[in-house]
Symmetry: C2
Amino acid sequence: MEVEFMLDSSEDKKRATENILRQTREASRVDVHKEEDHLWSLASGKLCEQIKKDGKNLGKGILKVNSFINHRVDVGLVDLCGHALADCFKNRDVTLILTAQTSGVLPAQACARYLERPMIFAREKKPITISESYQSQSRSHTRRMDVSLFVAKEFMGPSDRVLIVDDFLASGTTAVALLDIVRQAGATCLGFGFLVEKEFEKGRELLIKALKEGKEDDEKGREEEIRIVCLANVVALDGEEGGEIRLGGGKKS
Amino acid sequence: MEVEFMLDSSEDKKRATENILRQTREASRVDVHKEEDHLWSLASGKLCEQIKKDGKNLGKGILKVNSFINHRVDVGLVDLCGHALADCFKNRDVTLILTAQTSGVLPAQACARYLERPMIFAREKKPITISESYQSQSRSHTRRMDVSLFVAKEFMGPSDRVLIVDDFLASGTTAVALLDIVRQAGATCLGFGFLVEKEFEKGRELLIKALKEGKEDDEKGREEEIRIVCLANVVALDGEEGGEIRLGGGKKS
């Protein structure tokens, strides 16, 4: 069975196709940019509210948010957050959104939809469908294991301007691994957008150190402002299981 | 730092918040439902076109689509496809969309956004944040390994009406494992939505067999029509690497 009959038929169908595509494009461009700060506050406020309501401190620095972020997903909330992250980088000519599997895919897909750009998720195993790849090492604390991240070389190159998006900035090793992959490709990293930062794990410090080290070798990087934004900031998780979740608002600057 | 200041302030901010939320809701309801069949044809046509253009037959029955589906992601295409899948089940009172990590998350997130329902992705490892879980076995052919799928018991129960979404229907073992999890929860499975079916792997037959077997024990299931839809159908992958990809259009009935 051939499919061409669906692709190229009468003028009527063409017009209807164009209508749907136009409507889909417009749906991604809700006119809230004029209220940019308000969009950020709304997304950040709703995410913080949800963490206060349904987040659980499991002790040992572990925050359970799998009722709305990384197992059962509140898709509307993630979409709003992705929109707010996209908004921070909308004037930066992003060509590509990069994340790591699995739960990074959620905010990255939402963000990529609003920026109308492709998204790549770095894979933890190199499937047989990938031949040559960039590779870097990360560490998963919730799973207590080292992981390798792979990105196929054919999909990222020197002309790419990359926004890195993930659900969490915790120890920072995943963000640094993704930055390392962007650098291996000779591409430009424009910044980082996270749903939740766990400030007490000091990932931001590790990331800033890695950014500084890279800058010495990288002419292009020197000229670009690199922003690290998060919509919610866990300042501390007190004591053992059930302890207080001390929460700050997002960091946009 | 408290976050309440962002959530509940002046009347002006409340109005602006309501405006943004209304616009976001409306953005999910592009008025294409009156052209339902056209939306399906458009999504199916664009997906088939992309497979013809960028899909690669790697031989041994393996189809490489990682330039637009499961590594680098054409988010706009996936969004359109998720919309078309959602449209098939929009009158079925879906309460939950279920998928398996990782690449199932992409169409499932898009579909869930249009249905305005939460999405659960079954995890391949049971993280320490999940206590009691449903569990079932699947098999990954591209990775040549058996995988266990876990869903936390707290997130699915007898009142749930579940739509299962995945990127591929190949051998069918993942779809059957997800169906098994829905049955363990005592929930109702309403149907299955896939981006791509590989007809020659006969997953649909395995799935229909599993559905029939379940029906004998399941009073509720007898009354519900269960649809299995796919947007593109790979009829055959000829010969070795580089062979023809024989493609049919989607199956909606």
